[in-house]
């Protein structure tokens, strides 16, 4: 399974053409959607299509996530009955709260399932309770912000600049990082605005998000690029780690590179950069960088 989660692509759950090609779009994770993109009278068809798809096609090197319907909907229980027995990696739980995470966790535990949970935080209540929600189950691998629904709940307009979700973004990030979990940013919904997508994704990365959801395959390349370390970042990180090795040999607690003091947080950040670069195959065994 791909655990990078830089890009997570939503795919409508009742669209065979997109489903069978889900792994060609280069997203780290695909989210097969049984919720918003499936009309009420086609929910049954989408569940059956999902089951037949997963039983017939093996997606390699990609995380397979299914977004089920919310806990308070009629389709929640029907979704779980199908999804819990499938060979998928993760369930994306919409409008997550403590009660719904607990219920989903119990249902998966009853059958000794190894399926993980990604919580979708998209209500004002969810934002305020996010730390407790994440702590409800050991299955939680992280959270995703649902900006569109959150703005409906906040009775505000969703804007390109995103001031209205700034509080939610930072609050969610703090909770996720406090628990060492993943934080996935909300999709950028204007699929014709490439520059806007890049700006929004860079901003999300700057805040601390580890990946971004997407609603269109055309967005994946830009999102991946943003969350992939650059050659400069990798080289700088390797210099820090090499200098740290040397400093340890010499018994030094702190040291400087280019006149700037390097301490533990900077070393940890460098280690994280190198781990991602290694997972992406950007560093050879010799430690040399190569673009793939």
């Amino acid at each position: 399974m791909n655990e990078l989660r830089r890009s997570l692509l939503f795919i409508p759950g009742n669209n065979p053409g997109m489903l069978q090609n889900a792994d060609v779009f280069d997203a780290d994770s695909i989210i097969i959607d049984l919720e918003d993109s499936v009309s009420l009278d086609e929910k049954d068809a989408a569940r059956i299509l999902l089951k037949e798809l997963v039983n017939a096609i093996i997606f390699k090197n990609i995380e397979l996530i299914v977004r089920i319907n919310p806990f308070d909907s009629e389709d929640y229980q029907k979704d779980i009955e199908v999804v819990k027995n499938l060979n998928i990696d993760t369930i994306l739980l919409p409008k997550a709260d403590i009660q719904s995470v607990k219920d989903l966790d119990n249902k998966l535990t009853e059958i000794n399932s190894e399926i993980k949970i990604l919580v979708l935080i998209e209500t004002a209540f969810g934002v305020e309770k996010v730390f407790d929600i994440l702590e409800t189950s050991d299955r939680c691998i992280g959270l995703m912000l649902g900006g569109e629904d959150l703005c409906v709940d906040l009775t505000c307009e969703r804007t390109k600049s995103g001031e209205e979700i700034f509080y939610a973004r930072t609050r969610l990030l703090n909770a996720a990082h406090a628990l060492k979990l993943k934080a996935i940013d909300t999709p950028f919904t204007n699929t014709n605005d490439e520059a806007g997508l890049i700006e929004d994704t860079n901003f999300a990365k700057k805040l601390g998000f580890t990946g971004k959801a997407s609603i269109n395959p055309r967005q994946i390349t830009s999102i991946n690029k943003c969350f992939t370390p650059t050659i400069q970042e990798i080289n700088h990180s390797m210099r820090i780690l090499n200098a740290n090795k040397q400093a340890l040999k010499e018994g030094k607690g702190v040291f400087a590179i280019d006149g700037k003091m390097v301490d533990l947080p900077i070393i940890k950040r460098a280690e994280k950069t190198i781990v991602v670069a290694q997972k992406l195959g950007l560093i050879k065994n010799s430690g040399e960088y190569h673009a793939n």
Partner: protein
């Protein structure tokens, strides 16, 4: 299992198949239109027959309009149509 009312599933979209089931026939009949009939007509009918057999359906007319669906989609749409046809909902 008996189909008690006409039912349908699927779409006319590319890579999908539109299935209609009509009850009340002496035996199972299949009418297939497909954009790839010459190459895959036999295989598509085989999948349809397999699903009918698995669900013990014996007296329906299956009308199928295929737009290049893979086997998993044909199976899924057949199963959906059957479930809809046997239900009173």
């Amino acid at each position: 299992m008996d189909i008690i009312k006409p039912s349908k599933a699927g779409t006319y979209e590319s890579n999908d198949i539109y299935i209609m089931l009509f009850p009340g026939y002496e035996e199972n009949l299949i009418e297939l239109e497909s954009v790839v009939y010459d190459c895959f007509g036999y295989q598509i009918k085989k999948v349809i027959k397999d699903v009918l057999k698995e669900n013990n359906i014996n007296h329906v007319l299956v009308k199928a309009i295929d737009k290049g669906a893979l086997d998993y989609t044909i199976r899924a749409r057949m199963i959906t149509a059957i479930k809809r046809g046997v239900s009173n909902e």
